[in-house]
C-alpha cells in the first residue's frame, strides 16, 4: 500500500478515514474498533479476518450504512456515505449476508431481477437493458442454467451464488459479503471465493469479504484486513501479514500455533515426545500428520527422536524402544504409535 503509483490512482471504491465503529447508548459511545483508515481499489479482493467477537460484523455493518459510525468518515466511490440516498447507495454497494433466505415460489431469475430495484421505475417494470444486466449477472456467477429453477430448491452453494448475482444486478462498484461461506460445504466455499476473485479481475469490481476461512482467504485475497485483539487493524497482502507474525498475533492461543508456510494451525501441545519420519513424498506427509494427531512433535531431517517411522510405497515400519513393528494402513500406524509408552528417548536401534 506504500508503493508509489506509476500513474494517477483511480478513485477508491471504498475509503475510510479515522473511522471508529461500535455502539452508542444514551450515555456513552463504546468503540469496538478505532482509527480504521483503509481503502479498496477497483479490481481488488479484500478479505476481512479476525477472531470471533472482534468487530468484523460491526465494521461491515458500518461500511454498509446499516449502523452509523461513532467517528470518522466512510467514502463510497468518492462520496461520503451519509450523503447518498437509499437508491444511490444501492447503485454503488451490493451486499450478500450470512443469513439463509427462506423464500418460497420465486424462480432464480426473479431473485436476480430484484437486484434491479434501485434502477427500475415505480412499479419495478424491467426494460431491455435491465433484462440484459440480469442475464449478464446470472452468467457471471455461472447460474444461467438455474434461471428457471425454484430458488428454494437449489443447493446452499448455488443459492449464495444467486444472491451474488442479485447484488451484481445492482451494478455496484463495491460488493460486500458478510461471511457468505458460513453455511457452505468445502467445494462450494472454494468455488465462491474463486468466483469473487474472477469478478474483481473481469469487471474491475471491488470486493470485501469477511470470513472465518483463514486458509482460503490467505490463498485468494489481494489484500487482507486483519483485526487484532485490542482493536488494531493490520492491512497488507496475505504474505505481508503472515510473514510479519500478525496472523499469529491475531489467532494464536495456548493450544495452537500458526504455521505460515502451510497457512494453517497446528496443535501446540506435544504430549508424547519426539518422532521422526524417514520417507518422502505424499506418504511421508501422511505419516507426519498421523504422528502429530497422536501428540508427537515431528522433527525434521535426521534429527534424533524417540520414535522413528520409516515409510516406503507400501508399508510403514516403526522403531521405538529397541523394538520394531510394521504394517500397511495409516490407521494401523496410528494404533501402533498410540500403544507406545510416552517420552521414549532416542532409539538406539536406528
Amino acid at each position: 500500500m506504500n508503493a508509489t503509483p506509476a500513474q494517477a490512482v483511480p478513485v477508491p471504491a471504498l475509503r475510510t478515514r479515522d473511522l471508529a465503529v461500535g455502539y452508542r447508548s444514551r450515555r456513552e459511545r463504546r468503540a469496538v474498533l478505532e482509527r480504521v483508515s483503509v481503502s479498496v481499489a477497483p479490481g481488488e479482493l479484500v478479505c476481512l479476518l479476525g477472531p470471533n467477537g472482534i468487530g468484523k460484523s460491526t465494521l461491515m455493518r458500518t461500511l454498509g450504512r446499516m449502523q452509523p459510525p461513532l467517528w470518522g468518515t466512510v467514502e463510497l466511490g468518492g462520496r461520503p456515505l451519509e450523503s447518498l440516498s437509499a437508491s444511490d447507495l444501492a447503485r454503488r454497494l451490493g451486499v450478500v449476508l450470512t443469513e439463509r433466505v427462506a423464500v418460497e415460489s420465486l424462480r432464480v431469475r426473479q431473485i436476480v431481477e430484484l437486484g434491479r430495484y434501485p434502477h427500475s421505475g415505480w412499479f419495478g417494470g424491467l426494460d431491455e437493458r435491465d433484462r440484459a444486466v440480469v442475464s449478464w449477472a446470472l452468467d457471471a456467477v455461472g447460474a444461467a442454467h438455474l434461471a428457471d429453477r425454484d430458488f428454494a430448491r437449489i443447493s446452499d452453494g448455488e443459492r449464495q451464488r444467486v444472491m451474488v448475482a442479485r447484488a451484481l444486478a445492482q451494478e455496484p462498484v463495491l460488493l460486500m459479503l458478510d461471511e457468505p461461506t458460513a453455511f457452505l460445504d468445502v467445494p462450494s466455499r472454494v468455488e465462491l471465493m474463486g468466483l469473487l476473485r474472477r469478478l474483481t479481475r473481469e469487471n474491475a469490481l471491488a470486493v470485501v469479504v469477511s470470513t472465518h476461512d483463514l486458509e482460503l482467504a490467505l490463498r485468494t485475497a489481494d489484500v487482507v484486513w486483519l483485526l487484532l485483539p485490542g482493536g488494531e487493524v493490520v492491512t497488507g497482502a496475505p504474505e505481508d501479514v503472515t510473514g510479519s507474525g500478525a496472523i499469529a498475533a491475531a489467532f494464536e492461543g495456548r493450544q495452537i500455533r500458526f504455521h505460515p508456510e502451510e497457512r494453517s494451525f497446528r496443535w501446540l501441545t506435544v504430549e508424547r515426545g519426539q518422532a521422526a519420519v524417514r520417507g518422502h513424498g505424499l506418504r511421508g506427509e501422511m505419516a507426519r500428520a498421523v504422528l502429530e494427531r497422536e501428540g508427537y512433535g515431528v522433527v525434521r531431517g535426521d534429527a534424533p527422536a524417540g520414535v522413528i517411522v520409516r515409510i516406503d510405497d507400501e508399508r510403514w515400519t516403526v522403531s521405538a524402544g529397541g523394538t520394531q513393528a510394521s504394517g500397511d494402513t495409516f490407521r494401523a500406524l496410528a494404533a501402533c504409535v498410540r500403544a507406545l509408552p510416552k517420552d521414549l528417548q532416542e532409539d538406539t536401534a536406528s
Binding site: G64, M66, A86, S87, L89, A90, R91, L93, G94, V95, L97, E99, V101, A102, V103, E104, S105, L106, R107, R109, Q110, I111, E113, L114, G115, Y117, P118, S120, W122, F123, G124, L126, R131, D148, A152, R166, A167, Q170
Partner: protein, 351 residues
C-alpha cells in the same frame, strides 16, 4: 418478471379467477329469498327498463349494494392479509395481526354495552344516521386507536416479529376489556353485540357504499402501488434495505394500509375471519409464485369471489333463514385450505 411457461399459467389463473368472479357476481344477484329472473338482473346491470319491476327494485336497492360490498370487502381482506404475511414473513399473519379487529370490537362493545342508548334499534329501521352508523363510527374509532398505539410503539422497534407480538398483546388487552364489559352487561344488550360479531354484507346501503368504496379502493391502490417494495421484502428487511428499499417507510405504509382495509371492512361488515389468511395462500398455490405483481390481482379476484360465494351460502338459497357470515367463511374455507396445503406438501413459508 419473466418465464414463458410460468407466464402462461399465471395468465390462465387470472382469466379463470375473473370468470369465477363474474359468475359469482351474477349468481349473487339472482339468488335470494325473492325470485328474480336472470333477465331482470341483466336488465338492471345494463340499465335498461326492466319487465319485472319488483325484482328490479330488489336487485337494485338490496342485492347490488350487498354484492358490491362483498366484492370490496373480500378483495380488501385478501390484500390486507397478503401485505401482512409478506411484511412479517409469517404464514399466520392476517389483516388483524396488529390487534385492530379487537380494537373495533372494543369500540362496538363500549357503544352497545357501555352506553345507555337505545342501540337496539340499530338493526331496525335505521336510515343512515341511526344506531348502526354509530356502530360503524365506534368500530373505526376503536380500530384506529389500537392501530395508532401499535404504529407509535412499533416505530421504535427494529424487529418485525416484535411488532407482531405487540399487536397480539394489544389485541388481547382489547379483548379482555370486551370480556369485562360483557361480564357486567345486561343479557339483552349482549345479543346486540353477538349479532355484530356474526358479520354481514347486508348493512351497507348505497349511501354507506359511497364512503366504504373510496376508502377500500384507496387501500387496494396503495397495495398495488407497492408491489415492488413487497417483492423486495420477500428477501427480508436486511436485503430489502441493501437494495434501496426505504424499509421503515415501506413497513409503516404497509401496516397502515393493511390495517385501514381491515378496520374499514370490520366496521362496515363486522369481523370476518379467515378470508384474509386463506385467500393469499390459495393464490400462491394456484399461481406457484410469490411475485406480488401477479399475486395482487389474483388475490383481489379470488377474495371478491370467495366473499360473494360466502354471501350466497349464508342466505341459504331456497329458504328464508340467514347463517352468520363469519361462520360461513370459515366453514367452507378451512377445509379448502387444508386440502390445498396438504396437496402442496410444502407451505408457502416453509423453511
Amino acid at each position: 418478471m419473466s418465464g414463458t411457461g410460468h407466464g402462461r399459467r399465471e395468465a390462465a389463473v387470472i382469466a379463470g379467477l375473473s370468470v369465477a368472479l363474474a359468475a359469482a357476481f351474477v349468481l349473487s344477484l339472482v339468488l335470494g329469498s325473492t325470485h328474480v329472473p336472470v333477465a331482470t338482473v341483466f336488465g338492471v346491470l345494463l340499465r335498461s327498463p326492466a319487465a319485472n319491476q319488483t325484482g328490479a327494485i330488489v336487485v337494485e336497492s338490496i342485492r347490488l349494494p350487498r354484492s358490491l360490498t362483498a366484492i370490496l370487502a373480500g378483495a380488501s381482506l385478501g390484500i390486507a392479509g397478503l401485505q401482512m404475511q409478506t411484511l412479517f414473513r409469517n404464514p399466520l399473519a392476517d389483516p388483524f395481526a396488529l390487534g385492530i379487529s379487537s380494537g373495533a370490537s372494543l369500540g362496538v362493545a363500549i357503544v352497545v354495552l357501555g352506553s345507555g342508548m337505545g342501540v337496539a334499534s340499530a338493526f331496525g329501521a335505521s336510515t343512515g344516521l341511526g344506531g348502526d352508523a354509530l356502530l360503524i363510527a365506534a368500530a373505526i374509532a376503536g380500530a384506529l386507536t389500537v392501530l395508532a398505539i401499535v404504529l407509535a410503539v412499533s416505530s421504535r422497534v427494529a424487529n418485525p416479529a416484535t411488532v407482531l407480538v405487540l399487536g397480539l398483546m394489544f389485541g388481547y388487552t382489547a379483548s379482555a376489556v370486551v370480556t369485562v364489559l360483557v361480564g357486567v352487561s345486561a343479557p339483552e344488550r349482549l345479543m346486540e353485540l353477538a349479532r355484530w360479531g356474526f358479520g354481514s354484507f347486508s348493512g351497507v346501503t348505497w349511501q354507506r357504499l359511497s364512503l366504504f368504496a373510496p376508502i377500500t379502493l384507496l387501500g387496494l391502490g396503495l397495495a398495488a402501488a407497492m408491489t415492488k417494495q413487497l417483492n423486495a421484502l420477500l428477501l427480508g428487511e436486511h436485503y430489502a434495505r441493501s437494495m434501496g428499499v426505504a424499509v421503515r417507510r415501506a413497513r409503516a405504509l404497509t401496516m397502515f394500509g393493511a390495517s385501514i382495509l381491515g378496520a374499514v371492512v370490520t366496521a362496515f361488515c363486522g369481523p370476518i375471519a379467515f378470508l384474509g389468511i386463506a385467500v393469499p395462500h390459495v393464490c400462491r398455490g394456484l399461481l406457484g409464485t410469490s411475485n406480488h405483481r401477479v399475486l395482487v390481482p389474483a388475490v383481489v379476484l379470488l377474495g371478491a369471489a370467495v366473499a360473494l360465494v360466502a354471501q350466497i351460502v349464508s342466505l341459504i338459497p331456497g329458504s328464508a333463514g340467514v347463517l352468520p357470515l363469519n361462520a360461513v367463511t370459515s366453514i367452507i374455507g378451512a377445509p379448502v385450505v387444508v386440502a390445498i396445503l396438504l396437496r402442496a406438501r410444502r407451505g408457502a413459508f416453509a423453511a
